[in-house]
């Protein structure tokens, strides 16, 4: 039986190169299911990624796809969207890609409110390079470059995105697949910069270092610690322990997106008919 989402994958490029138990495949599938749900034209949808294990997803997806340089997916995606606003542009990025080397592009992408949907595969680690600490590695967790536990404080990318001006901000996990799909679909709906953090497991580079080498255990951790936003808001502060985190839609405001605003510039400059 052919499953309906299969048409969104380049069958001849599979199997993927990810480790057994890796969460990237789950998030990638949630993206195509959101695309299917929203009925996006496959010929008019572009997937743009940076560099990292997660960013390899673009090669497996049957659209126009762009595997850029480390951290730079958002500027490339901005150029694509502004050059041809009829294209739906979805960005795939990792926690290191998006918030370390690409951090400046991330906040300015949010600020410009270009109509992009950015899905951050947050596995709390630099997966591809073998487990170094990222700006989203939780404090005290171990990494090859933090063998005694990270002392750096970690980013909350959702709060960062909201503060920087993103008009849609949500979080979900690889355990909550249906919810994750809905969060991404909501981001596609939003005409502006949409940011979805997808918490996912890297058993190989993060799990093994942090007493969670079993991918199933990592997913149970997501199940046990993710709290839906409505419940989170009611949770007393002493119950909001270090491990617990909220998921759901955090912010959604309608603001003029960059391409629409620029069309006004073209009108004023008198270039509309050229």
């Amino acid at each position: 039986m052919e499953r309906s989402f299969e048409k969104y994958f380049r069958q001849n490029r599979l199997p993927h190169l990810w480790c057994p138990g890796c969460g990237n495949g789950i998030v990638m599938k949630a993206i195509v299911q959101a695309i299917e749900k929203k009925g996006l034209d496959q010929d008019k949808t572009v997937i743009v990624s940076g560099i990292g294990c997660s960013s390899r997803a673009s090669g497996y997806m049957d659209f126009d796809t762009l595997h850029t340089a480390h951290g730079r997916a958002i500027p490339f995606a901005t150029g694509i969207k502004l050059a041809n606003p009829e294209l739906n542009v979805i960005v795939i990025t990792g926690d290191g890609d998006c918030t370390a080397i690409g951090g400046n592009h991330f906040i300015h992408g949010c600020r410009r409110n270009v109509d992009l949907t950015v899905v951050l595969f947050n596995n709390s680690i630099y997966g591809m390079t073998g487990g170094q600490a990222s700006p989203m590695t939780p404090t005290h967790k171990k990494a090859t470059t933090a063998p005694y536990g990270a002392i750096d404080r970690n980013f909350d990318a959702c709060r960062l995105a909201e503060a920087a001006g993103a008009t849609y901000v949500a979080r979900s996990t690889a355990f909550h697949v249906q919810h994750l799909t809905d969060m991404i679909a909501g981001g596609i709906d939003n005409k502006g910069f949409s940011f979805v953090e997808a918490i996912c497991q890297c058993p190989t580079s993060f799990g093994r270092k942090n007493k969670m080498a079993d991918p199933a255990k990592m997913m149970m951790w997501m199940r046990d610690n993710a709290v839906m936003k409505a419940a989170w808001d009611k949770l007393p502060d002493d119950k909001k322990t270090e491990e617990k985190f909220p998921i759901g839609l955090f912010y959604n405001e309608s603001e003029t997106d960059y391409a629409t605003a620029y069309n006004e510039v073209i009108q004023i400059a008198g270039g509309a008919d050229k």
């Binding site: 572009v46 126009d64 958002i74 150029g79 969207k81 041809n84």
Partner: protein, 382 residues
């Protein structure tokens, strides 16, 4: 010809890019290139194009590559530190074969250097600035009108060869104001975006080279579902860890420029017919060198000038020919000595090659180059 206008080199570069069909610009302000961004911000929307001021030069480079992949001819501009920041993605453009033009209005470096002062210190960076093996095209104008013409050429070459092209201006020409007459649009030849030659069903591969070794890669949004990556890839566009493909792709990237070398290497000669000595110069420095050569002629020295418009690929043939006929060559450049190494390589001992270098924020005085000519004549082979 349109009516004569007083115009700055940087402005002429904007006009040339627009005339060649550029409809997208991404940049970040930096002296002495800022007027390129300002001109683009003003003029692009008047022709339905878009300008975006990015958060830095890396983003500026990324945004123009994205725009180019989506079908718009795109340009970015910067100087010194900004050009250094762009290097990784200039390499991306070379590897993924994305047409783009990078305007570098050179200033004194390294680092912040002398931000407002002229220099020609980025000759070698233009060629080798990004990592790895790759070809490069770089053009350098000596006048405001030529800033327009080379901007058109740069855009055309980037499209034709699907490669990054550097418009290697300098502060002298960038900020120079001259009366110019720009050609009518109908007189300007434009190289259009290359198009796929077959459909997906017929087995289209986005990186299969055409006869000229350049692929006819589709734009995003045209239904071809192409994959673009900075990893070494085969004709399908997908990465492959194969020594054979790595070798072939690296070779083709170079050869697509090499086989067109004669056509894209523009050199102009002045007073060379009976010349016994030659001054080699380019960009703003060539203006002074021209005067110096004219003065030396008045003194009875049979000296001519060879002006490189195309800096990369280097004008091997033209320089070799000169070396066979003159008694000595003087290379005048506004740096510690960069182009001179290429001249020496090509001349290969056939005649003496001397360097007239200047790296003190100021432009050459004709007398300084004349002194260089005098020395060359005194010490050159009999």
């Amino acid at each position: 010809m349109s009516k004569a206008r007083l115009m700055q080199g940087n402005e002429a570069c904007v006009e040339g890019a627009l005339a060649a069909g550029v409809r997208f610009f991404g940049g970040y302000p930096i002296t002495p290139s800022t007027e390129v961004a300002e001109g683009m911000a003003k003029l692009l929307p008047t022709v339905g194009g878009k300008f975006v001021q990015m958060e830095d030069e890396i983003a500026s480079m990324g945004v123009v590559l994205g725009a180019s992949l989506a079908g718009k001819k795109a340009v970015t501009a910067s100087s010194g530190p900004g050009i250094s920041l762009k290097q990784e993605l200039i390499g991306y453009a070379a590897a993924a074969e994305i047409p783009v033009v990078i305007v570098n209005v050179q200033r004194v470096g390294p680092s912040t250097g002398q931000p407002t002062a002229p220099s020609q210190g980025d000759v070698m960076q233009a060629r080798w600035g990004t990592h790895g093996d790759h070809p490069m095209i770089a053009l350098s104008p000596w006048s405001v009108r030529e800033a327009f013409d080379t901007a058109v050429m740069a855009v055309n070459y980037s499209e034709r060869f699907r490669t990054p092209v550097i418009l290697l201006m300098d502060e002298i020409v960038g900020h120079l104001r001259e009366k110019v007459e720009l050609p009518e649009a109908s007189a300007i030849e434009i190289y259009p975006r290359r198009k796929p030659t077959c459909s997906r069903a017929e087995g289209y591969e986005p990186f299969t080279p055409d006869k000229d070794l350049v692929p006819n890669t589709a734009n995003f949004g045209e239904g071809y579902h192409i994959h673009v990556t900075g990893l070494i890839h085969d004709d399908t566009g997908f990465p492959i860890g194969s020594p054979k493909i790595t070798r072939e792709v690296t070779k083709r990237l170079h050869e697509k420029i090499d086989i067109a070398r004669d056509e894209i290497t523009h050199v102009e000669e002045y007073f060379m017919d009976d010349a016994e000595y030659a001054v080699v110069a380019f960009g703003g420095t060539a203006r002074t060198a021209y005067e110096a050569v004219a003065n030396a002629r008045k003194k009875g020295i049979k000296v001519g000038m060879v002006r490189l418009i195309t800096i990369w690929p280097f004008a091997d043939k033209a320089i070799k020919k000169i070396a066979e006929k003159v008694k000595g060559i003087l290379v005048a450049e506004l740096n510690y000595g960069q182009l001179v190494g290429e001249v020496e390589r090509v001349v290969a001992g056939k005649c003496p090659v001397e360097l007239c270098a200047k790296y003190d924020m100021t432009i050459f005085e004709p007398a300084e180059i004349e002194a260089g000519i005098d020395e060359l004549v005194a010490g050159g082979k009999a």
